[in-house]
């Protein structure tokens, strides 16, 4: 055993996810683990980010599960968009950097909704305050 040792609760859970531009795109609310058919070992395969997963982790199994399922129904029944494959991670530090665009993640869904329906209608929403 020579690889880097990480403590999941200390160094991964609840840490900030950032996209390739450095934009903040959710926290690590849980980790997905799978047993490899080859080695029989358990591996972490994905970060889970989303309020449904967080609620489940906090013991609100039914409410959290319902949110996760409804999310899946609305978007794409085939795959769970709350899962962010570990292969997308470019750096595991205090911040976790991902090689994706925040807009492509499920964590941006509510951001987009609020933008399209509310904040986007206010004048000046496109302008950063002049420096």
């Amino acid at each position: 055993m020579t690889g880097r040792v990480l403590y999941a609760g200390l160094e991964l859970l609840d840490h900030q996810l950032r996209d390739r531009e450095g934009r903040l795109c959710g926290n690590v609310d849980d980790l997905e683990i799978e047993r490899s058919p080859d080695t029989g070992e358990l591996y972490v395969t994905a970060f889970v980010a989303g309020p449904g997963a967080l609620l489940q982790r906090m013991g609100r199994r039914r409410l959290g599960g319902w949110i996760e399922r409804s999310n899946r129904l609305v978007n794409d029944p085939e795959r769970d968009r709350n899962l962010i494959p570990l292969s997308l991670a470019s750096r595991l530090g205090p911040n976790i950097d991902l090689a994706v665009d925040a807009e492509d993640l499920a964590t941006s869904d509510t951001e987009r909704w609020v933008r399209d329906h509310l904040i986007g209608h206010l004048p000046g929403n496109r302008h950063r305050a002049p420096e």
Partner: protein
């Protein structure tokens, strides 16, 4: 399967006596390089078990946090009972517990 399903789960010896609860999970980055990425896969290596306090995620035992003295002493003591048990020594069936395969755990205290 979610990592949170492992956390807070009770760990028992083969004879059913409790060893404490899972407080954290140790991962080792020694798997194959993930397809399309730069990171090696994270293998679930061991669970950190303790009887005591649940909030053992401050880094006093497993991280490099050294100060201040007051917190090191307080949380060091709270976390001292914690020890790692290799996942290979554990049976994880559908039940609520993680069961030790034999009663001779070769688990050792954290790093």
């Amino acid at each position: 399967m979610r990592l949170s399903e492992l956390l807070d789960r009770e760990v028992v010896r083969a004879d059913g006596r409790s060893l404490g609860k899972v407080r954290d999970v140790r991962l080792v980055q020694d798997g194959p390089i993930l397809a399309g990425g730069t990171q090696a896969a994270l293998r679930v290596d061991a669970v950190i078990v303790s009887r005591g306090w649940r909030g053992v995620r401050l880094g006093y035992l497993r991280g490099q946090v050294r100060g201040p003295w007051l917190l090191r002493v307080t949380f060091g003591r709270l976390e001292r009972g914690a020890h790692a048990i290799s996942l290979r020594d554990l049976v994880w069936d559908e039940g609520p517990h993680l069961r030790l395969r034999s009663d001779e755990p070769d688990g050792h205290a954290g790093p």
